[in-house]
């Protein structure tokens, strides 16, 4: 466990020195810019739009970091051959992988926390009323990122960064549309095709579950029950993907 933390903290340090938190500057500029632009709208609509836009930007920046840093977590180590000196230490491979994963998770949590604080400040300054739904929405965005990083890490344990990025982005897009797979599967009569669609529905992450942005923006309450179920789903899904990633990583040769 101690070694996982050592690797995680080093990964976090790497992320910081790679200037990943620079995205925060863009996030800040976007928030300021949008509040200026939306200033001309009526108070009620402005609040909704600002919430919507803020949550969406937190989501987009998070996903970009999750995918593009996530795919490099392992493949970059292999490509730059830094992995040799690590694997040569008494640390099981799975611990290395979990450490790298946790490091990026830490980076993302810090990043999202800063974005959330900035977002809430802007809302407060704009005289917009706040509610707990916003925090819930941001929490679920973070959970979605954890799932995406796990998927990115899993792909990068066996394929190139370019392919990993492609696959991960594809899964991200499909992940938001899995509901359609289910509907389609139920409507089709061919048992084989509908079976395949059903398997895909359960195998792919159902990312739409994590998306409560518009509810939060419109002040529609998000029940604690829903939150609990979704968090459990996210954690279970992430854990399963990481188990697969560890298994692949354990078996592969580093030529």
């Amino acid at each position: 466990m101690k070694r996982i933390i050592v690797i995680a903290l080093n990964t976090f340090k790497e992320n910081l020195r790679d200037k990943i938190l620079f995205n925060l500057v863009f996030f800040g500029l976007m928030l300021i810019g949008s509040s200026v632009l939306l200033g001309s709208l009526t108070i009620g609509e402005q609040a909704k739009l600002m919430k919507d836009l803020g949550l969406a930007s937190i989501n987009v920046f998070g996903v970009l970091i999750a995918v593009f840093v996530g795919i490099g977590l392992v493949s970059k180590e292999i490509e730059k051959r830094t992995i040799y000196s690590i694997i040569a230490k008494p640390i099981p491979r799975y611990q290395f992988l979990l450490g790298r994963y946790s490091g990026l998770a830490l980076t993302l949590s810090v990043n999202i926390a800063i974005m959330a604080v900035g977002f809430i400040l802007v809302l407060l300054l704009g005289g917009v009323s706040l509610d707990i739904g916003l925090i819930k929405a941001i929490g679920l965005i973070f959970l979605e990122l954890l799932v995406i990083v796990a998927v990115a890490v899993m792909f990068s344990t066996f394929t190139t960064p370019t392919l990993s990025a492609t696959f991960t982005l594809a899964i991200y897009v499909i992940g938001h549309l899995t509901g359609d797979l289910k509907v389609l599967g139920d409507k089709l009569e061919d048992p084989l095709v509908s079976g395949v669609l059903n398997v895909l529905y359960y195998a792919l992450p159902n990312l739409a579950n994590f998306n409560v942005k518009s509810e939060a923006a419109h002040g529609i309450p998000i029940s604690w029950n829903y939150l609990l179920v979704t968090v459990s789903y996210g954690v279970a899904y992430t854990a399963s993907v990481m188990v697969v990633a560890c298994m692949i990583f354990q078996r592969r040769d580093f030529k």
Binding site: N10, K13, E14, T82, K89, P90
Partner: protein, 310 residues
């Protein structure tokens, strides 16, 4: 308890779409004695790095097994006793020398004063105390190699495995690495290193193994491998010999080259050297130098590799 025992270690890679098989290492058997410096020789692509990667658990063997200090290499904990320097080391370039050593020390479960003291000691050993707070990104190749050696020693290993520790270094850098290896031997560590730079190997290794196309062709001391008849020719430089005396010397199957007062005499047969010396002394000549030309490990290496230059 041997520091390293390798039995039938084999690695076959399958490459490309045709899954063509390439035998990178073919049934390697080897035992390393405690406290020795063992040089693992071979051309690029002979399988040295593959063997080391197998030992370190980067790749898995197709067949065979190896033990480090009587524990299987499959046991991750055995790495507690190994220090490893990868070939042309690449490390986390965003870390400073000190942070880098702290990080690797922590992976061994080290920390606090013990680690801090060890780091001071190692930076001193590899003469990098000045570069302590510099990021690795700004290091030269020689400096990276030295900090690489420092990280390999952070856990005070019993067995040190170095993959091409001298490649890409200038003569001074090579000498530094050589000195460090000898110092480690002096401290009682066992050193296993691969190289294709032969003079270095000849100078510091107790034993060497020669690997050709994945197979171990020879193991032994440099003398054993090079053989007793390793002297191929002898060159003498003499002065003060008259023309008449030189004519007599020429009768002994020699080649003469005149350089002013000095005459260089080349003799192809070691057995005739005493006769020649008698002649020279009899004619009141003076021997300036006598230099036996040995069949170097390099020549031997080329013969073993089937790539003899002649």
């Amino acid at each position: 308890m041997k520091p390293l025992r390798i039995k039938g270690l084999t690695k076959e890679y399958r490459t490309g779409f045709s899954r063509r098989s390439v035998m990178a290492l073919d049934h390697l058997n080897l035992e390393i004695e405690e406290g020795e410096v063992f040089g693992f020789l071979g051309h690029n692509g002979a399988g040295k790095t593959t063997a080391i990667k197998l030992l370190m658990g980067f790749v898995y063997p197709t067949a065979g097994e190896a033990w480090i200090l009587d524990r299987s290499i499959r046991d991750v904990d055995v790495k507690q006793y190994i220090g490893f320097l990868p070939e042309s080391p690449f490390f986390y370039e965003y870390l400073t020398a000190e942070e880098f050593l702290v990080f690797y020390g922590q992976l061994f479960g080290m920390g606090g004063l013990v680690l801090a003291k060890k780091i001071d000691e190692l930076l001193e050993l590899v003469s990098m105390t000045d570069a302590r707070h510099r990021p690795l990104r700004k290091f030269s190749k020689g400096m990276l190699q030295r900090i690489g050696i420092a990280q390999a020693l952070i856990n005070d290993p019993k067995l040190v495995i170095l993959d091409e520790p001298m490649s890409g270094l200038d003569p001074i850098g090579r000498r530094d690495v050589r000195d460090i290896i000898l110092r480690l031997k002096h401290e009682g560590k066992t050193i296993f290193f691969s190289s294709h730079i032969l003079p270095d190997v000849e100078m510091i290794c107790d034993r060497v193994g020669i690997l050709v196309k994945g197979r171990l062709k020879a193991v032994g001391t440099v003398q054993e491998i090079a053989g007793a008849s390793s002297v191929t020719s002898i060159e003498l430089v003499v002065e003060g010999l008259s023309e008449g005396a030189l004519a007599g010397v020429q009768g002994l199957d020699t080649t003469l080259i005149r350089r002013g007062d000095h005459v260089l005499i080349k003799l192809d047969d070691e057995a005739k050297v005493n006769g020649l010396l008698d002649q020279i002394l009899k004619h009141k000549g003076r021997v300036v130098s006598l230099l036996p030309h040995k069949r170097s490990l390099e020549d031997l290496f080329l013969t073993e590799s089937g790539m003899n230059r002649t």
